[in-house]
Amino acid sequence: MITIKNLSKTYRTKKQNITAVDQLNMTIDSGEIFGVIGYSGAGKSTFVRLLNRLEEPTSGEIIIDGKDIVKQKKNELRLARQEIGMIFQHFNLLWSRTVHQNIAFPLEIAGVPKKERKAKVDHLIELVGLKGRENAYPSQLSGGQKQRVGIARALANDPKVLLCDEATSALDPETTDSILDLLVDINKRLGLTIILITHEMNVISKICHRVAVMDTGKVVEEGDAVHVFQNPQQAVTKRFVQQLDGSEKYESLSSAVLNEGTGTIIKLSFSGENVNQTIVSQTAKQCNVDINILQGNVLQTQSGAVGSLFLQLVGSETEVEKALDFIRSANVKAEVQELV
């Protein structure tokens, strides 16, 4: 669906050249929700804006549906853009237009006759759940509703690709969830390919099939979203994963436990069906160890649940070893945590 080859973007200033996107290569499949995560300044926002040439690439190819966007002339590009929807962090709605008129705007641009426009807009309003708010102005809507208008507007010309530039970053967690649910729903219903840029790990974990981690303009890690969470290789990725599994909290917790002085602290990582196992109580029954649950959580992702659990095992060295072996035999990853 989308193939990106050696894509680079360099900003030239008088003092220096800044490479925001550096020799990027990527393949995104049709119907996939592809997440790009990175801290601010990693080049992810530049990357997504290169895809519809809101920023001009310095070099490289972007092939969407067999056509190289980079080589297209002005008019071809205009038509190609009509097939690439985009939503923004700050929604970018026209405040002088009502919800209905905002959603109709891309149809006006594409030259759709008035009658068809109305039917299409009504359908989209229903799809994004804004029925009854057709004649409201953006200033009368909440953030979540504004983003729904943004999504409906982006879908108006039946795009094959939807670009989301930090689409949930300006929303509160609850609204973020409802917008993400809507994106998943659209992805399933319309078979739309979604490329999503974010700095929030929970956004990736909740809806993305695949993820690329960006740092200083390069993709440092890429793969199946669940796989990347469970086996983060790079330091940046590990920091993102810590946002999710509570390791950050664990670090402050560990010193408190250390002061108490006893036991071994282990981290269990679950995925898929073994989330449902009664591993803790079984371990306590099988081995002569006392178990203290420090903290844990379970995340729902696109490919099932992923969990992590921090335990303090108190017992003799051999019993703790036995417990670890027992846990590992149940296909649960167990790591002994070095105390800081």
Partner: protein, 222 residues
Amino acid sequence: MFEKWFPNVDIADLNTAIYETFYMTILSLIGTFIIGIILGLLLYLTSKGKLWENKIVYGIVAAVVNVFRAIPFIILIVLLLPFADFLMGTIRGPSAALPALIIGSAPFYARLVEIALKEVDHGVVEAAKAMGAKHSTIMVKVLLRESIPALVSGLTVTAIALIGSTAVAGVIGAGGLGDFAYFYGFQRRQTDVVILCTVLIIILVFVIQFIGDFISNKLDKR
């Protein structure tokens, strides 16, 4: 009653003066609006980072605008008399004042248009670009449409400044309330004429400001 308070005012002359003031204000406002929008759009679009970024064009337009804004209006009228003669075929009366009124006000309005357009969120322009909009669509349906309340407020300010200018133009014989006050009132020492003209102009200014604010607020959906 009227004759008691304003013994020296000839009603027929006053009506002519009012008519001439309206004539000059309305026609020059239309001219100012058209030229101001064009110049303002040019200033905005050719500035840095905008659709038609072009340092040379921006420099030329900005220079023209600044020069005409710098010339005091009374001098501008005199300078433009030959041009008015060429264009309107006369150097007297309200029509002769129109070129100077328009050329004097359009650069001022152009700057207000530029400011209004700058206030349009760049993200919205970007969103329209991402939808595949033509530049002409972005100009009309995004930039101008989204800045309408500011364009209207700017036009109100310009219209009020224009009324002042029409009074000044009266001194060189353009007619209107300014002319009336100057020749019948000041030069013949008929204070009642001056006062009446002043009151009428004040009322006119108030009415324009009120209408302008009303329209601007009505259109502002932010």
